[in-house]
C-alpha cells in the first residue's frame, strides 16, 4: 500500500447528533482506530447497523455503511459477507436491537461462525426511544425513564454468545478506547464470529450505569484517596480465555461463563473466550464448493453482454436426467 491510512480516512463530515458525553463516541473512535491500525482500506469494510442511537454509527464511518432495520443487522451483514468473503464486515448495534427484537438472529448467527465482528452497544436502555429498559438492564433497577423498577431479569450477553457458538467473545468499555480498539482488532483478525459487548454509558437516560459508577467514584480508597474502579482488565489478573487445544474447549467455556456472571463491585473486561479451532462458515462452504473463496458470488458474472443469464437451464436439467 502506497499511502498509509490515518484516522482521518475513516471519518465523515456528517453532523453527529449523539448527546454530549455519550459512550457511543468512544466506540466510534475505537472502531476507526482499529481499522486504521489494521490498514484496511475503507472500501473493503462494510459496517452494518440496526436501529437505535447506536444504529447511526455507519453514518460517521467512511466505509460502506448500511443502516438496516430494527433487530436485523446480522442477516444483512451475513448475506454481504458470504457474497463477498473478502470484505471486512462489522456490525454496530444496540442491546435492545440485538438482544431483544433481534435475539433470534443473534443466537442463530452463532451456529454458523461467519467471519464477522459484532460490536454491541450495551447501555441498559433503549436510548433512541427515550430510555425504556433494554434486555441487559438488571431486575429491580430504575433508570430515570422508568416509572417503576425493571420487572424483567437481565440477559447475560457474554454467556448467550458463548452458548450460541460465537468463537471470539469479549467485553470492552466505551471510555477505555485503547483497550477497546485492541479488542476490535482481535475480533476482526479472528476467523469466525466475534462478539464484543461494550459497556456504554448513556448519560441521558441511564443514570445508574454511569461513567462515574463504572469508574468507582463512589468508592474512594482511604489509602490512595482515589476511586476504586469497578471495571478491571481480566488479562491483568492472569485470566486466559484462549482455547489452545480443542480438548480444553469445554473447560474454557465453563470458565468464561462463570467469569461472565461477575458483576457489580468488579466488572471484567477483555477476552472471555476465543476458540480458533471451530471452522468458519466460509471454510464449511469451501469444503462443499472448493472454488468458493476464489470465485465467490460477488465475483460471478450472472448476465452476458446481451443481458441474458449465464446460467443455462439445460445444464441444470441434464443433471437430473435419468439415463
Amino acid at each position: 500500500m502506497a499511502v498509509k491510512l490515518s484516522l482521518a480516512n475513516y471519518r465523515t463530515d456528517l453532523h453527529n447528533d449523539w448527546c454530549p458525553g455519550c459512550g457511543d463516541f468512544g466506540i466510534l473512535s475505537a472502531i476507526q482506530m482499529a481499522l486504521a491500525d489494521l490498514q484496511i482500506e475503507p472500501h473493503r469494510v462494510a459496517v452494518f447497523s440496526g436501529i437505535g442511537c447506536s444504529g447511526k454509527t455507519p453514518h460517521y464511518i467512511n466505509t460502506y455503511g448500511i443502516h438496516t432495520l430494527h433487530g436485523r443487522a446480522l442477516p444483512y451483514a451475513i448475506g454481504a459477507k458470504l457474497a463477498n468473503p473478502e470484505l471486512t464486515v462489522l456490525i454496530a448495534g444496540g442491546d435492545g436491537d440485538g438482544l431483544g427484537i433481534g435475539v433470534g438472529h443473534f443466537v442463530s448467527a452463532g451456529r454458523r461462525n461467519v467471519d464477522i465482528t459484532y460490536v454491541l452497544y450495551d447501555n441498559g436502555v433503549y436510548g433512541l426511544t427515550k430510555g425504556q429498559a433494554s434486555p441487559t438492564l438488571q431486575r429491580g433497577l430504575k433508570p430515570k425513564s422508568l416509572p417503576k423498577p425493571n420487572i424483567n431479569d437481565a440477559v447475560n450477553p457474554i454467556a448467550i454468545a458463548i452458548c450460541s457458538g460465537y468463537t471470539f467473545v469479549a467485553r470492552g468499555y466505551a471510555y477505555d478506547t485503547k483497550h477497546l480498539k485492541e479488542l476490535i482488532k482481535k475480533g476482526i483478525q479472528h476467523k469466525g464470529s466475534a462478539f464484543i459487548d461494550v459497556l456504554q454509558p448513556c448519560p441521558t437516560y441511564n443514570d445508574i450505569a454511569t461513567k462515574e459508577w463504572f469508574g468507582g467514584e463512589d468508592r474512594i480508597d482511604p489509602a490512595t484517596k482515589k476511586p476504586i474502579p469497578r471495571v478491571y482488565k481480566m488479562e491483568d489478573e492472569g485470566y486466559d480465555g484462549e482455547v489452545r487445544d480443542p480438548s480444553e474447549a469445554a473447560e474454557k467455556i465453563q470458565a468464561a461463563i462463570m467469569k461472565s456472571f461477575e458483576w457489580g463491585d468488579r466488572i471484567p473486561i477483555g477476552v472471555f473466550y476465543r476458540n480458533p479451532h471451530i471452522p468458519s462458515y466460509e471454510e464449511r462452504i469451501s469444503s462443499r464448493i472448493p472454488e468458493y473463496l476464489e470465485n465467490y458470488p460477488a465475483k460471478q458474472v450472472i448476465m452476458d453482454a446481451n443481458n441474458h443469464p449465464t446460467a443455462r437451464i439445460e445444464d441444470i436439467l441434464n443433471e437430473f436426467r435419468i439415463l
Binding site: L69, G71, I101, V103, K130, P135, P147
Partner: protein, 413 residues
C-alpha cells in the same frame, strides 16, 4: 389542550382498559409512556407490559383479549410492519383489541413523519379501520372502536389511525368525557367463552381443508361488512351521550358541489380550508372525508358524490406499480352509480410529512375541470408539492447531477 398522543392515552384511560401491550416507536411512544406512568401511579388500573417487539406485543394483546381483558396497544410504521403476521392472527382469533396506529412513512428511506403507507398496508388484515382528523376524533374513535370491536355481532379488532406529528404532537382542544358518561356508552367487556379455565375451548385450530377454512374466513368478512351498520347504531348512542355525532364519512360543502375532493385524516383540515377559499371565489367544490376505511363505505361515498362532475382523490401513500391504495376502491364505489362523475382524478401528496396548502386544493380542482372539458383523465397520479419544496428539490437534483425531468409528474403551484 391535548396532543393527539395524549388524547389516545386518555381514550384508553377513560375506556378503562385492563391490559396495555407496548413497544416503543416514534411518533407513538408518548402514548405508551403516558399509560405506563398512569398504571404505575394507579390512575389507570391496568396491567402494562413492555414487550421486546411488536410481534410479541400484538400476539400477547390478542391472547389477553381472549381472557376477557379489554386490551389497548399502539404502534407506527416499521412497528406495524413487524407485527403483520400477528395482525392477521389476532383478527382470526376474533380478539377485539384496539390498536392506535400513529401514521408514519415506511422505510426505506426512513422517515418519521406522516404518510398512510403503514396503516393502509394493513387494510386487509381483518382489523376494522377508523381514521381521525382531529385529536378529539382520536379519543372518540377509541371509545366507539371498543364498542364496535366488542359487539357480539362483530368481534374483530379495530385500528384507529392518527397522523404522526400533525396530530400526535399537535395540541388541540379536547373534551375528556367523564366516567359516568363513558359507563353509559360503553358496557363492560365480556368475551364469549373466554380463556378463563372454566371450559376447554380451542381458539386457533389449524384447518387442513379449504372448506372449513373458507367458512372461518367468510365469517370474518361477513362480520366486517356488518360492522358498518353496527357503527351507525353505535354512533347514534354516542351522540346521545356525548353530543357529538359521526358518520362513516363527512360531507363538507357537498350540497350543490360540482367538484369534490375525497380524502382522509389530518390533512383534511388543509383541504377543508382550500375548499372554503374556493367557495369564496364561487367555485362549487366540496369535500368527502372518509372516517371509516374498513369496511369501506362504498354506498355512502357514492351517495355523497351524487351529482358531482368530477372527483379529486387525495392520498398520502404511493404504491409502486399502482399509485394510491384507495383510488381503485373509490373508483369501484362510483362505478355502479347510474350517473357517475365524468372524471375521478388521482393525486398523491403529503408523503413523509411533505406539506400541501390551499393552493394545491385549487390546483386539484383545476385539473378536474380540465379533465371534464377534455374528457382526458390523467393515467397516473399527479404528485403535489408546494412551490418552495419543489424549488428546494430541484436545487438538490441539480447539485446531485440528476435530471430534473425525473420528477416529470410533479406539480408545483
Amino acid at each position: 389542550m391535548l396532543t393527539g398522543n395524549m388524547s389516545a392515552a386518555w381514550g384508553a384511560r377513560v375506556a378503562d382498559v385492563d391490559y396495555v401491550a407496548a413497544y416503543p416507536i416514534t411518533p407513538q411512544s408518548e402514548i405508551v409512556e403516558t399509560l405506563s406512568k398512569w398504571t404505575s401511579t394507579g390512575e389507570l388500573n391496568a396491567k402494562f407490559v413492555n414487550f421486546e417487539s411488536e410481534h410479541s406485543m400484538i400476539t400477547a394483546a390478542g391472547a389477553a383479549s381472549l381472557t376477557g381483558a379489554r386490551v389497548f396497544t399502539a404502534t407506527s410504521s416499521q412497528g406495524l410492519f413487524y407485527a403483520f403476521e400477528a395482525l392477521y392472527t389476532v383478527a382470526g382469533w376474533r380478539a377485539p383489541i384496539l390498536l392506535v396506529n400513529v401514521a408514519r412513512g415506511v422505510g426505506m428511506p426512513m422517515v418519521l413523519q406522516v404518510e398512510h403507507g403503514d396503516v393502509l398496508a394493513a387494510r386487509d388484515s381483518g382489523f376494522l379501520q377508523l381514521h381521525a382528523e382531529t385529536c378529539q376524533e382520536t379519543l372518540d374513535f377509541i371509545l366507539i372502536g371498543y364498542r364496535l370491536a366488542e359487539d357480539r355481532r362483530i368481534l374483530l379488532p379495530v385500528m384507529v389511525n392518527m397522523d404522526g406529528f400533525t396530530l400526535s404532537f399537535a395540541r388541540e382542544p379536547v373534551e375528556i368525557p367523564d366516567k359516568s358518561q363513558v359507563e353509559d356508552f360503553l358496557p363492560r367487556y365480556s368475551y364469549p367463552r373466554p380463556l378463563t379455565g372454566d371450559e376447554q375451548v380451542a381458539y386457533a385450530p389449524t384447518m387442513t381443508e379449504g372448506v372449513p377454512y373458507t367458512f372461518f374466513k367468510y365469517q370474518m368478512y361477513a362480520a366486517s361488512i356488518e360492522a358498518k351498520h353496527v357503527f351507525k347504531q353505535i354512533v347514534r348512542d354516542f351522540s346521545r351521550v356525548f353530543g357529538r355525532g359521526y358518520d362513516v364519512l363527512e360531507s363538507f360543502m357537498m350540497d350543490d358541489a360540482e367538484y369534490a375532493v375525497v380524502c382522509s385524516n389530518s390533512y383534511s383540515s388543509i383541504i377543508r380550508a382550500g375548499v372554503k377559499a374556493l367557495r369564496r371565489r364561487g367555485v362549487k367544490v366540496g369535500m368527502a372525508r372518509l372516517r371509516m376505511i374498513r369496511p369501506f363505505p362504498r354506498e355512502e361515498l357514492a351517495k355523497a358524490l351524487e351529482g358531482v362532475e368530477a372527483v379529486a382523490v387525495f392520498e398520502q401513500n404511493l404504491a409502486p406499480g399502482r399509485g394510491g391504495a384507495l383510488y381503485p376502491e373509490i373508483v369501484e364505489a362510483l362505478y355502479h352509480m347510474p350517473e357517475k362523475p365524468k372524471a375521478v382524478v388521482p393525486f398523491i401528496g403529503g408523503l413523509g410529512g411533505a406539506n400541501i396548502g390551499p393552493e394545491e386544493v385549487a390546483y386539484m380542482v383545476r385539473v378536474c375541470e380540465k379533465a371534464v372539458k377534455t374528457g382526458i383523465v390523467p393515467q397516473h397520479p399527479t404528485l403535489l408539492l408546494r412551490e418552495d419544496d419543489w424549488s428546494k428539490l430541484r436545487e438538490s437534483l441539480k447539485v446531485s447531477g440528476l435530471p430534473v425531468e425525473k420528477m416529470g409528474v410533479v406539480h408545483h403551484v
